[in-house]
């Protein structure tokens, strides 16, 4: 044991704080992003050992090449109708996002979050799952609801916290919940859904059910303890769950390096836990579909969890409360080298001869009309009321659902509130 109080032979330490390679004013620089050619990544057998997947965590599963062709072992060989359904759903999400974003700007609600550029991660994955599988989304997988045919109007009613809001005005906009559509209630607390998904999957296994769970988490949120608990439990009990990490490279203003993204890939976490892992081009709908289906098949065969890094980019601000030009170059989203998932699938359909300008115009018109109609319907049920006590909802519902049975203290408080509102209205 050395004991040198003055420690003359010991050099000074220093702290390393990761920095992105471009800040506002700098040229955006994606040169560090390594992009393997589409089709270049091996597809392991569905019954492969976790270790056999581990080289994949350092690569990138890609199916669509630059010319719009589907290539390689991971091509899921979907028929054109299904491709068009996926395409359409992504278009719906984008148009929906745009309208709701504008609605927030118009003061019709308090908050909104878009998923621009990340539509494939939700939509194509939902298409690869069974309708009965349970998804545990974050606030950026509204695409799952769309893909499963949840009414746009109901989504909007939730966003507006209006009379027809299925969640009775209790939740922030976009914190959807739908048991029937296999869409687990979104939490405002990051990462909590991850162990819940694992628990749900364990329960399905305990019951000899056949349904699996699919969970989502952001790159930034992987730092939470819940992430670790989830992956640990999933591995130990071989839970039938897909653990998606949506690496859009930003967490509000901090880049993925602050979550450890400079050290290795997020998919590599799978190696550390000894479970199967994949790293996927999240802007390639076919790759997303294929990887999800592969992981789902594994889970259904009782081969346990797969951790999938969906590598993508958050093209717009974090939410309506955020202005990304304060912390990254303005054109960052547009410069993302892996392109736009909607444009890429469209190109593929065109290459296949299954899409053309007329169909595109037709689709846009139909979807725009559909979204507009839903919005009109939703707004008939009101929009968020902020400076008034003329609530769209029956305000006494505030005290319901704290417990199944309302205890005396809540009944008393309910009566108190009713009296208060009467007093206020006088």
């Amino acid at each position: 044991m050395t004991s040198d109080i003055e420690r003359p032979n010991r050099p000074a330490l220093s702290l390393h704080v990761p920095e992105p390679n471009a800040r506002p004013g700098d040229e955006i620089d994606f040169s560090h992003i390594v992009i393997p050619a589409a089709g270049s990544v091996r597809k392991p057998d569905v019954s492969a050992s976790p270790a056999e997947t581990h080289e994949l965590v350092y690569s990138l599963v890609r199916v669509l090449d630059d010319d719009g062709n589907a290539v390689g072992m991971w091509d899921p060989r979907l028929d054109p109708d299904q491709l068009r359904r996926i395409y359409r759903d992504m278009v719906v999400v984008r148009i929906f996002d745009d309208r709701m974003y504008r609605a927030q700007r118009q003061g019709k609600t308090s908050f909104y979050m878009k998923s621009t550029g990340e539509e494939a991660v939700a939509v194509a994955a939902a298409h690869a799952l069974d309708r009965e599988d349970m998804t545990f989304p974050t606030y950026r997988q509204q695409g799952i609801l769309v893909a499963r045919g949840y009414p746009l109007r109901d989504m909007m009613c939730q966003v507006y916290s209006n009379r027809a809001d299925p969640l009775k005005g209790r939740q922030l906009p976009i914190m959807y919940s739908s048991r029937d559509y296999g869409f687990f209630t979104i939490s405002g607390n990051l990462a909590t859904q991850y162990p819940q998904a694992v628990g749900w999957a364990m329960a399905s296994a305990i019951r000899g059910d056949s349904r699996i769970a699919s969970a989502y988490i952001g790159d930034g949120s992987t730092a939470e303890g819940d992430f670790h608990a989830a992956v640990t439990f999933a591995g130990v009990y071989r839970a039938p769950v897909i653990l998606n990490i949506v690496n859009n490279q930003w967490a509000i203003s901090s880049f993925s390096g602050i979550a450890g993204g400079d050290l290795t890939t997020f998919a590599a976490r799978a190696v550390g836990y000894g479970i199967a892992g994949l790293r996927v081009d999240g802007n390639d709908p076919l790759a997303v579909f294929a990887a999800t289906r592969w992981a789902a098949d594994r889970a259904r065969l009782n081969l346990g969890p797969t951790l999938i890094e969906m590598f993508t980019y958050r093209v717009e601000g974090h939410s309506t409360s955020d202005d990304p030009s304060a912390y990254r170059p303005k054109n960052a989203g547009a410069a993302w080298p892996l392109g736009d998932p909607i444009a890429r699938l469209k190109q593929h359909l065109v290459v296949l001869g299954e899409w053309d300008d007329a169909r595109e115009a037709d689709l846009l018109e139909t979807v725009e009309a559909e979204v507009r109609a839903a919005q009109r319907e939703a707004e008939k049920q009101g929009t968020l009321v902020t400076s008034s006590i003329e609530f769209p909802q029956d305000v006494t519902t505030m005290f319901e659902d704290v417990f199944e049975q309302m205890p005396w203290h809540l009944r008393e408080q309910q009566a108190q509130m009713v009296a208060e509102l009467e007093a206020k209205r006088k």
């Binding site: 991850y194 162990p195 399905s204 203290h409």
Partner: protein
């Protein structure tokens, strides 16, 4: 009827429910093969399979997080947190998730989830095996909290908790697992066998949540207690010869105010007793409620006899623990005027 100590009663509640309802499962650290460090889940893995009774990784966060997922699926998990002092890593899942699930989904999802945990002091467990955190959970809308004081109640309340459609925290005063403790640390330990509440039916029965028990009727003063403290209070008033009415709260939340009000309006005096640290403890809430609702019946201030506002000190336990002197002093103060 059989004579059971509290551990046996708790074990029996599991057993009865797991036999009746195959959606009931037991999980936690060392809960499976070994049957729990206090043996509350002994034999269950053998009887019901490791599918329904299993060890978990040491992650309280993961235990509650996955149990929430299981309850969302439709199971009725009974999750053990090895000591209540170790529940804090799971605090977020309990407070932000379990408590809110029914509300934030407008009733679409409810969680029939029970979280059991050995609790309280009196066993020389030091800072991290002695805590009484009930008031932290009582403040959280959406959680029920239960603390039994005897084998009969323990089994009946635990079955009621497991059957309850909402999340229930079930804190087990570990000092009285093997026998009621009167707070006189220098007296020999009495086993449960001699206590009437150790007569426990072998089958299914419930003790309703949200209902307190008047364990002793009296005229002079109302003493509200729960868990181990019920026994200490009874021993204290016996030693002091005070005709107190003693309420065993049993459920911390929802509070059984009817029973409390009725008693205080009769006696005109009230003392609240708990092991937990005083400031911000549940005694403050009870005291506030009593004076709000019985002000004109109160002849003296509501007194509190509680743990001190320090961490739980290992070797100074008998100076820390709210024993007969502290409780007796509070009661006498409440009787003074």
């Amino acid at each position: 009827m059989t004579v059971m100590n509290m551990i046996q009663a708790i074990n029996s509640a599991h057993d009865v429910m797991m036999a009746r309802d195959d959606t009931v499962i037991a999980m936690g650290e060392d809960v499976g093969f070994f049957g729990g460090v206090f043996r509350a889940t002994e034999h269950l893995q053998k009887k019901y399979g490791s599918n329904r009774c299993f060890d978990t990784p040491i992650s309280e966060n993961g235990i509650i997080g996955t149990a929430i997922g299981m309850a969302a699926y439709g199971l009725k998990p009974v999750a053990e947190i090895q000591f209540a002092d170790y529940i804090y890593p799971a605090f977020d899942q309990l407070v932000s998730e379990a408590a809110r699930m029914r509300y934030r989904t407008a009733g679409e999802w409810n969680l029939s989830l029970t979280v059991r945990s050995p609790y309280g002091g009196g066993i020389f467990g030091g800072q991290t095996h002695s805590q009484s955190p009930e008031s932290l959970f009582a403040h959280v809308a959406g959680l029920k909290t239960v603390i039994p004081s005897n084998p009969y109640d323990a089994k009946g309340l635990l079955i009621a908790a497991i059957e309850d459609p909402d999340p229930v925290l079930f804190f087990e005063p570990k000092r009285i697992y093997n026998g009621p403790f009167d707070g006189f640390f220098d007296r020999p330990v009495t086993p449960w066998a001699k206590h009437p509440k150790a007569e426990v039916p072998e089958g299914h029965y419930t003790v309703p949540l949200g209902k307190a028990a008047v364990v002793r009727e009296g005229e002079a003063v109302t003493v509200i207690a729960y868990g181990t403290m019920v026994h200490v209070v009874l021993a204290t008033i016996e030693a002091e010869g005070i005709d107190a009415e003693v309420i065993d709260l049993r459920t911390i939340l929802p509070i059984d105010m009817d029973t409390i009000e009725e008693s205080v309006k009769k006696t005109g005096r009230c003392v609240v007793v708990h092991e937990a640290t005083r400031t911000g403890g549940f005694g403050g809430e009870l005291s506030a409620l009593v004076q709000e609702r019985c002000f004109y019946h109160l002849e003296a201030p509501v007194e509190r006899a509680t743990g001190f506002d320090t961490p739980y000190p290992h070797s100074l336990e008998w100076a820390y623990f709210p024993g007969p002197i502290r409780i007796g002093t509070a009661i006498k103060k409440a009787l003074e005027v």
